[in-house]
Assembly symmetry: C2
DNA sequence: CTGAAAGCGCTTACAG
DNA sequence: CTGAAAGCGCTTACAG
């Protein structure tokens, strides 16, 4: 007999059939199952959770009632009683950014391995929105939080962390609190990338990066400066540009440092979005300009020339952070740590272009 | 006085200080706040929820208690009582695929506008995993579900939908149940793309697509066949290849149809991953071969030649689906609908290459 | 093997 | 304006 034919069996005193979906529609509960199977509530609970101590016959009766009613345990109620929600939150900058896709997926896989679901949100690089999201996730009592911070003050999380919410920052460190963080070696990666350009004969090298309140932007700029200093090159202010990464500003910045009497002969770009815009600018120039970009790009190897990049392992960042999170949740008290993942210089052509005369 | 100095004020009968984080660590509840402020539970609830009917003085006392204890409302408990969880689930194929990033982000934005959080999961194109995920989300009592289906039988969702879980399928239709679905015009897009190649003089045109159990793969193949038929071209079996989209198989398929005595002079690729692999194959060939790909790619315009594509609007798919979902949740009963979004042919060069002799 | 009672942390529906 | 009681749907801790 079809499940739906049984709907009227449900106790009449339960939610009336109002259209507007209060009470999750009108779902059967363990109590309904117990009544139908003629057993106690606890017995239903045992069957649903696969606990021992139920005779085969009782179990069968309960199973039948479950199927007839279309019962599905309300984990929301379960969670309230048990304490752990088996869900973790991920606050990132923008789900649509190709850098965060693999990172999210890696976090998700680790969560899945631990039986947890992932709640995801984009801060859109807005500190207020980051806070709003993180606190909303805490109110839902996620067991832990993986945060790619937009802001630089995370004291708002102190009570939550104290209350037991595991927290790991990724890609950028926490601000004004002591917390686990998993980073790429932004400084070293940028330094190596710029040193690579220097090794290929460049001295006038431009740097176009993200807003200076972003940690990675500062670190990469620091790497640029270090490489230049190591080579004894005095950096001119007009070679550096930090700011929002929208195509308009980046295009202007690139055009400025590439024009005038003493243009740069090479550019180091501070992230994937900047790199893409600069590639477009360079494609319109009559002379070749060398380019090394931070972050890898799909199809980068197929461009002419191929784009030399300092690649981060986004998936490894996510995986490492999530694993650390669950280690925290395992109960062992860990003191906050800073984990740094190496970057990799991938030579494809654009970084090996010599300076044009 | 610092918040932490107040921790010992919490009633001693509440959770002991065990290290392993049961009971969400050791969080204060409304009851604790009420006790500290010397008011009733309901008054705390009123203040926390900004309900009227509390004198300024009482409100101040409650607020003080809230801050001193570091109280944050447990939405998990709230949800149990209220019926709606203000969260929706998104089951997609792979968070790391660049096609799903913008789609997820769009769903998230709509959810946010409705005050809901997004729980995200990847099916990895595995029907069992899709089901497991979707049902886990239902057990968490998400208000609604946006599903990019991997399987072709969704009868398992019938009890959930009947129980009030709003459901919208995206990118591919539901199997064996009647549900809302938001699709791109896969058939028309593929037909136009192939017709474009024909208009540029090609007759021997290859098609490389995804596994034939995937709806979009079938529709795009159908579009290919329709365009060929419209032009009076008899398609040879060796021109078509459907299967997993891993680079190995796609590469072999492309190489096969591009070799032999009568190779194809143009290729139509069935999705972004296939396109990327085929671009690599074509880059290694001595003669030019025309290419039109389904799905747009970042940097596609910067390749030589630029890649002509049939572009879908991934963000519009996500937005439309999520809006439909919340329309369902608004209570008006809507009969299942099929919404089709147009695709756009973007000419960039590769699709305008003439047949080589 | 089985189940009644209490409780998780809130909101609802009342009563004062 | 304020609050005590009941209840959301489960699990826990017992007792039989």
């Amino acid at each position: 007999m079809p499940e739906t034919a049984r709907r009227e069996d449900r106790p009449a005193d339960r939610a009336p059939d109002r259209a507007s979906g209060t009470r999750y529609g009108n779902r059967p509960t363990m109590k309904d199952v117990a009544a139908r199977a003629g057993v106690g509530l606890k017995t239903v609970s045992r069957v649903v959770n696969g606990e021992p101590g139920v005779t085969a016959d009782t179990e069968r009766r309960v199973q039948e009632a479950i199927e007839a009613l279309g019962f599905r345990r309300n984990d929301s109620a379960r969670v309230l009683r048990k304490g752990r929600t088996a869900s973790i939150g991920l606050v990132l900058e923008d789900l649509a950014d190709p850098f965060y896709g693999p990172l999210s997926r890696a976090v998700e896989e680790v969560a899945r391995a631990h039986g947890a679901l992932l709640i995801n949100g984009s801060s859109a690089e807005d500190p207020d929105r980051e806070q709003e999201l993180a606190l909303a996730l805490c109110a839902r009592r996620v067991d832990g939080l993986v945060i790619i911070p937009a802001g630089d003050d995370h004291r708002y999380l102190e009570p939550e962390i104290k209350a037991g919410v595991a927290t790991v920052f990724v890609d950028r460190p926490a601000g004004r609190i002591d917390a686990d963080v998993v980073l790429s070696d932004n400084f070293g990666g940028a330094r190596d990338g710029v040193a690579h350009l220097i090794a290929h004969g460049h001295r006038r090298i431009g740097f176009i990066g993200d807003m200076p309140r972003i940690h990675t932007a500062i670190e990469r700029l620091r790497g640029y400066r270090a490489a230049m200093e190591d080579a004894g090159i005095a950096v001119e202010d007009s070679w550096m540009s930090l700011g929002v990464t929208d195509p308009e500003r980046v295009r202007r910045a690139a055009e400025e440092m590439l024009s005038g009497p003493d243009p740069v002969t090479a550019v180091f770009t501070g992230n994937n979005r900047v790199t893409v815009t600069v590639i477009r600018v360079l494609a319109g120039l009559p002379r070749p300009v060398a380019l090394v970009g931070f972050d890898d790009l799909e199809l980068a190897d197929l461009l002419q020339p191929g784009v030399t990049v300092v690649a981060q392992d986004a998936a490894a960042l996510g995986r490492t952070a999530a694993e650390r999170l669950f280690r925290q949740l395992d109960g062992t008290h860990l003191s906050p740590e800073r984990i740094e993942l190496p970057t990799r210089l991938v030579q494809r052509g654009s970084g090996e272009v010599p300076p044009s005369a």
